[in-house]
Symmetry: C2
Subunit: 446 residues, 2 copies
């Protein structure tokens, strides 16, 4: 379409908080609470520590908070680090239609900016919703070819969302929002080859940082193409194949992608979730040991092997993308938490023995939120279970209470309990608070 970028930019520029339906506001609050929980929970991981060691000393004025930690950084570096911590536990929210994890990218850019450029809670939520909308619509225009080619779509499409949210908070007009999206488009990056290494987290951090920077640059008159999305050598044709531009512009302001957002009950690659749920269901009443089991047979969607086919993971990051480790560890523990991805679990002899008994069969007819698990016992008996819609999927969403529970589990080890309660209250009342930056201060250490 000749003016896709401009139509999208115009929508973002004109959308007002009062135009957002109540259900969308509610989902945005859930998404925000959930993202910050993930960033706080991930704030002590090695990816975060390495990144801080490498670039922390290059920070400008410490105007923005590092979630879950004491450091203060300049707004672009805070966006970078908070983006890394959002992703590091592989516990993010997911837009299932594109496999984008939008919360951390958009939130990290917007919140860091809000610490320098004040915004009301209502304006902040509006910018967050618009960022989500932009990232997912750009993603939809190029999915699934883009992802299959090897792009990490949370990085490549996510940067547009970070830019839109930051640009909205900066009050960019249409001309400058078009440029901001263009500056973002030409920095879109991230390869799926990096899954299992810290660079997977880097993608989210850089998308947040460069997205924020794109909005700042455009705000000072830095120019780009006016047709970055749709031009023959623009984003969608170079990083996609036969892009669907209608997905970007149809129903803008009437439908909201954030209403399709889902949240992970388990801290690992989302395509493994049905298998974990099935294994936990079978483990709970049966108390199985590796020596009782001859084989674990999994029938699942082809993406499971494509994305999480690592047979012998050596690190936590790799284990979170290993269906073999995940099935074995979930079956033995009867649950799936950070502990089941710890170094001691990854090197546990019983987990290793069971991991080798996992056999995966892919079946195109099985959906991504579905699986069949069959456990063949040495005695000849078979235990089996069909997961039709996994917990946390669109078919069986996590409740507000589930998300608050997850937030508490992630933050209580690091923040005082009173602070956790205050944070949850503030998030609930987001549309009525004067200064969105309070979220950042509550989620950081003094």
């Amino acid at each position: 379409m000749a003016d896709t970028t401009r139509i999208l930019a115009r929508y973002v520029v004109n959308a007002r908080p009062e135009d957002i339906p109540e259900a969308v506001v509610h989902e945005a609050k859930r998404c925000l609470l959930h993202w910050i929980g993930c960033s706080v929970g991930g704030s002590r991981e090695e990816s975060v520590a390495c990144a801080l060691a490498a670039v922390g000393e290059l920070s400008g004025p410490g105007q923005a908070s590092v979630l879950g930690r004491k450091e203060k950084l300049d707004i672009t570096l805070a966006a970078f680090i908070n983006g890394i911590s959002a992703d590091v536990l592989s516990f993010s929210d997911t837009h299932p239609q594109t496999l984008i994890h939008p919360g951390g990218v958009i939130g990290s850019a917007a919140l860091a900016l809000a610490e320098r450029t004040p915004a009301s809670g209502a304006d902040f939520l509006n910018a967050f919703v618009l960022g989500y909308e932009v990232a997912c619509r750009v993603g939809l225009s190029i999915y699934p070819w883009h992802y299959a080619r090897g792009w990490h779509i949370t990085g490549t499409a996510g940067i547009f969302g970070a830019t839109a949210a930051a640009g909205k908070l900066l009050g960019l007009d249409e001309k400058h929002m078009v440029w901001a999206l263009g500056i973002a488009s030409t920095q879109a990056a991230g390869l799926r080859e990096m899954f299992g290494s810290m660079c997977k987290n880097l993608h989210i951090g850089r998308a947040a940082q460069n997205g924020l920077s794109s909005a700042l640059l455009a705000g000072k008159g830095f120019t780009s193409s006016n047709h970055s999305l749709e031009a023959p050598r623009g984003f969608a044709h170079v990083l996609g194949e036969k892009p669907n531009f209608d997905a970007i512009t149809d129903g803008l302001g009437r439908t909201f992608e954030i209403l399709r957002n889902t949240y992970k009950p388990f801290p690992c690659g989302v395509v493994i979730h049905p298998i974990i749920e099935g294994c936990i269901k079978l483990a709970s009443p049966n108390r199985l040991a590796a020596r009782d089991i001859q084989r674990i047979k999994l029938r699942c969607n082809p993406l499971v092997i494509e994305l999480t086919g690592k047979r012998t993971p050596a690190t936590t990051l790799e284990a979170k993308l290993s269906v073999y480790h995940s099935a074995a560890a979930a079956l033995l523990a009867g649950r799936m938490t950070e502990g089941e991805y710890s170094p001691s679990s990854i090197s546990n002899a019983e987990v290793l023995a069971l991991r080798d008994k996992v056999v995966v069969t892919v079946d195109e007819k099985i959906r991504e939120d579905e699986t069949h698990v069959a456990i063949e016992l040495n005695g000849g008996e078979t235990l089996s279970c069909h997961v039709d819609h996994v917990i946390g999927s669109s078919g069986k969403p996590m409740t507000d209470q589930d998300i608050e529970q997850k937030f508490r589990g992630l933050t209580e080890p690091l923040l005082p309990k009173a602070r956790v309660n205050q944070f949850i209250d503030t998030c609930r009342n987001m549309t009525r608070i004067d200064d969105a930056a309070v979220l950042a201060r509550l989620a950081a250490l003094d």
Copy 2:
């Protein structure tokens, strides 16, 4: 190839200054002098001013110089700004086999780092040569498909060179150099759609900045894939098609891509150069006016239209990528300097009239450094000229004196003349100086 990334990393880690042939050292000095001339000459352009206005206040410790200016910035932001200024005049050096402009990307990363982490002149030149080698070999593995698809290869392949040079100066070992190249690979970005806007300059700045940052991150243990170049979902397969990995590894340490480097005599897209030379040749003895001319007929390589087919450029950046403006302005002025791309030239009535008389015919049999120019006069006469190898091309390289002359033209309006002489001397003696950072201080204002 199974270990392309590791082979390349190992070469960079092990290569010593004394392994570099004398001719390569000589070319590296030319390239360095030339790049810094371009950055100083471009330091007052609008792209640089906008970028500084947007991100200058976010700078950390001012350890590094902004070439041609007074500001001091942290090393990553200095790399960013010096990369932008390197490109802004479209006057860069070119590796003709890939169309990469390597000097500014690699130099901006390496020089900013050298202001914080001291390096001798010999070590700096070695790192610069290795960075050049890495960028161009990565580029060769995916050219021409990659460029034709719409990627700005100076950004996408350039970041590998910036990373290699910075990683070498940091003294990374093989394991960490592999990671550094991986971190670079997953940030490679830049769309040709941006040509004609400030984002073209941004690509060089970000490649320098993110390349430097990749080396810093790897140095602190930030991990990436060990097979970022060659893996099925790694850089070359995602951003290329049927990549040629031999181009990366064959002859490492025996052949040097920098020996193929070329320098532009005119401040615009390199594919227009033969046409400009032809027009100047015909203009000089003939003193033509627009009213004398019926038509300017150009026969040239198809890339001329693909890259510089803008009929009605409105800005300096657009005019530098317009064969129509360039031919008309060169013919009228009898020369091609910044003045012929100034706003007054772009809106000059005689230039506009003549621009509309330019007719381009593409011919696949004509090389990129060749053209036929025919000027049909109103009297019926035709003046014509064949440029076989344009000035500055491999077939007719710029001499040391030409490059020094160009450097003087770019820097003398901004730096004291004594400083310019001192800089040229220092560059000549580069292998004997103790501290490479002196280059940055000489090329900046106090």
